[in-house]
Subunit: 126 residues, 10 copies
Amino acid sequence: MPKPAKQIVEIFPNPAPQRDYVIRHEAPEFTSRCPVTGQPDFGTVIIEYTADKTCVELKSLKLYLQAFREAGIFYEAVTNRILDELVTALAPRWMKVTTNWNPRGGMSSTITAEYTRKQRTARGRQ
Amino acid sequence: MPKPAKQIVEIFPNPAPQRDYVIRHEAPEFTSRCPVTGQPDFGTVIIEYTADKTCVELKSLKLYLQAFREAGIFYEAVTNRILDELVTALAPRWMKVTTNWNPRGGMSSTITAEYTRKQRTARGRQ
Amino acid sequence: MPKPAKQIVEIFPNPAPQRDYVIRHEAPEFTSRCPVTGQPDFGTVIIEYTADKTCVELKSLKLYLQAFREAGIFYEAVTNRILDELVTALAPRWMKVTTNWNPRGGMSSTITAEYTRKQRTARGRQ
Amino acid sequence: MPKPAKQIVEIFPNPAPQRDYVIRHEAPEFTSRCPVTGQPDFGTVIIEYTADKTCVELKSLKLYLQAFREAGIFYEAVTNRILDELVTALAPRWMKVTTNWNPRGGMSSTITAEYTRKQRTARGRQ
Amino acid sequence: MPKPAKQIVEIFPNPAPQRDYVIRHEAPEFTSRCPVTGQPDFGTVIIEYTADKTCVELKSLKLYLQAFREAGIFYEAVTNRILDELVTALAPRWMKVTTNWNPRGGMSSTITAEYTRKQRTARGRQ
Amino acid sequence: MPKPAKQIVEIFPNPAPQRDYVIRHEAPEFTSRCPVTGQPDFGTVIIEYTADKTCVELKSLKLYLQAFREAGIFYEAVTNRILDELVTALAPRWMKVTTNWNPRGGMSSTITAEYTRKQRTARGRQ
Amino acid sequence: MPKPAKQIVEIFPNPAPQRDYVIRHEAPEFTSRCPVTGQPDFGTVIIEYTADKTCVELKSLKLYLQAFREAGIFYEAVTNRILDELVTALAPRWMKVTTNWNPRGGMSSTITAEYTRKQRTARGRQ
Amino acid sequence: MPKPAKQIVEIFPNPAPQRDYVIRHEAPEFTSRCPVTGQPDFGTVIIEYTADKTCVELKSLKLYLQAFREAGIFYEAVTNRILDELVTALAPRWMKVTTNWNPRGGMSSTITAEYTRKQRTARGRQ
Amino acid sequence: MPKPAKQIVEIFPNPAPQRDYVIRHEAPEFTSRCPVTGQPDFGTVIIEYTADKTCVELKSLKLYLQAFREAGIFYEAVTNRILDELVTALAPRWMKVTTNWNPRGGMSSTITAEYTRKQRTARGRQ
Amino acid sequence: MPKPAKQIVEIFPNPAPQRDYVIRHEAPEFTSRCPVTGQPDFGTVIIEYTADKTCVELKSLKLYLQAFREAGIFYEAVTNRILDELVTALAPRWMKVTTNWNPRGGMSSTITAEYTRKQRTARGRQ
């Protein structure tokens, strides 16, 4: 199974850290490979988060997602991996990653994984 | 009434068991037969679950659903049966099965059945 | 005002009485008559319920709804009457009847009435 | 097989007889009965025409179409009958009748029949 | 600023006063005038309510809304006025009035106002 | 039957008279009155034309169409009248007027009338 | 490769043989099997024709299409076979068969085959 | 980075201050510039609020939003700035600003920021 | 009236000059200004052409269209100007420019202008 | 600029060579790279053709299109290259290749190229 290069996204300071608000990026051009057959998979990745000190810069997020282009990885694994790596990079108050996959064998799939920082209230989620 | 062969889906280890997250598979090519008239029924089966130790492998899920192709079974029964059999096979923390059926006699139907493991909290449902 | 013949729907045993699950039938070919002008009305009737011991058989439900074809009856009355009669026939744990009506005089209408059996919990509603 | 009463639509003088132009009425609330089973059929009737001396009055057209409510008649027959009767009533330069029928047995149908007066040119058709 | 004539809607007895259920009327052909420029405004008015003793008759509701045709009135004012006048006329258990307005200066607007009778429970709202 | 005031639209010189090209204005906020019942009608007016020496100015076109607000006039008549009056005002090489009307009595209507100047070729029509 | 039983559709006399008109049946519940892998294929079959002396009866057409349920047959072959067999059965003036297939390997397909009787004019096609 | 001129929106008295109701303005023609590349960005700005003593006048709101046309500003910053400036200008009981941005680098973004006045109850939010 | 700077688009050699084929670029982020009021206009520009020796490079086309951002220009004029300038720059065999404009005063507009080189056949148009 | 490996699609005999009919394959998961920036491009490739002696096998067509995954190639060039290579491989009577590309710089593009064998009639095109 191929493995995407370690990719560090670029960040910039949250312009409104005094407020819990929600940022959502939708990337409909995600592609990776099936770890079993090596065939390309295609899907949409949706990243939603409430920033704490830092926001992710859009171009670097695009490059981070492109690094999976030749990776052989299951739907469930790539969704949780993107969540884990972006939580590490951004230390957000809250984050949700959703992946919608094109049909394979007549079936389409969606995976949704969510992270909430321990000590904060429920505000800021949609 | 014909009866689908006993079908064991294949499973693989949940890559993120530390987290309650939701997996959704939508299969729009389901077909079985009306137990009264023997006529084919057509519908979409949607399976949503929060995995515990195991996830269902997609190709074996497709084959499992195909085994109902010649089964004569009511909408309500097939929905609950898929839920029961997948709960047995996967032992998930939570699972919901929805079936949407094409119109018959001018009426279309939807059946929704849900399972929640006893000792867990409400997190992980959508 | 004409009156539909007393119509008893057919029933069959609930295949999963141990579980609260939701059954939904959508009938887009409902027609009755305006009690004031006698003109035909057209609408969609949606019946959702959580069965207790019995489910409604689809063909008999179709015939029950067809019996209103020449009935002169207000939107609000027919919605509550269908709810009352099906609650009597099926003794469900929960039921909701929704009627969506085609525009008349440039206005379209929707009526939604709901029944919940006294002693049960909130589970089983959507 | 029941038979709708002879129905004469009302007419009014074409306000622009010097010009070939197209009038289109779409009636999505048409219902008749299957001549074999007696079950209700539901569909949309679309009438397009280029008037010569007379136009059809809308309310009388509605009543004319309502007269088929209890008629047992095949899709192909009712389409041609509406075309024939309106051509007789209006003597248009051109007319097309289209009927779109709700699914029966999983299949939906559309019938399209057209009339063109002998001595006129192709202008005025869409 | 012109002012619509005092308009009393007609009412009829609620056929199911023993139950909290929701009635919804959608009128997409509302027009009034901008109080500043006198230009026509166009929008959709949606009225939802849970009746107590009386329901509004549809034709009189249509005429009531038509009475604003030449009225010069702000979006916010007309929404609250319709709510106030219908609450007075119907004495409902609950009512919501929503107005959706066509774009002006590239912007479209929606106003939503709600009334709940003091002593009743939350049931009956959607 | 009320009658809209004589309304002269404003014009400006065609910026590309050397070329047959098509200008289309769609006005979804047209309202007039039924000449029989006096009830308001609502529709969309679409004006397409190939200009010769002059184009119609948009604001004056809006005011011209607003002048029908209290006019009692049949669908067929208003469509041909708009075509006739704009052909007189603009002397276009080609013009088509289409009116789409909201449902009345369950039926919606569309009227399409077209003008072509005698001596020109077929170019410039769509 | 399995082979559907020889299936004769039922016919009834064309109610308007004096006129070329178009009949269209759309069957969205077609299923057969891939001749290479044996996996089920799913698609929509659209049959359009101008009848001469006979029309196809709808229920028998449904049964004819159901006979392909276990047939292993390529998209291109099944489309031409349906066209050939229905042309033989109905002897129409014109017929077109279109099949739209659900995605396989990320690709969806459409096949369109058409028959025109030799000695007739182009009228009757859409 | 360019900076829009200080813009004061015009206000008018809330016509129903006794009630918590929601006003929503959607402006799909927002444009600013990317602060890094200077390239134009395009998006929709949605402003929802519950007025206290004052409402914002629509034309002045349009002009306020137009003042960002040449501003170089990040998505996250402009969303929070509009919220802050309108909260200052209107002193609302509650306000939410949402910005939906056209795709850049294959990704589209949405930012949602919300303000609630300290001493009020949860009523008035949608 | 402001005037966009003279803008020369970049070109590259047509990779298939032996064939008439159609290239279409759709730019939904076009903005200019009303020459009368100075208010911003927003629309979509669609450019279709059959290249001869050269194709337009996409980034330079984007910059060319952005140069109208502060231009005060009528819909009809800007459409014909873009057509004229791109015909000069690319010397195509055929070109069509379509502009769709957001509603102003409740009306939306579309302008379509087309160029065909004198000595070529009709092939290559759609 | 990278270059996809020479890829020969597999073929099978046309099951109905006596008839001109149309085969259409739509592949919404095409990806290649921009030859200037190296960034991934995403689009849909539509292949329509009238077979002569051979049809293309679907799985090999999928693999052929996947071979462009790392190719750096302009929209116009890849469209004409696919057409040329498939015409060589299949020797069809007629073929059309359409590529629809996701927006870049706010603009989306479509390229359409068509081949017709010299000596055949116009039949068989849609």
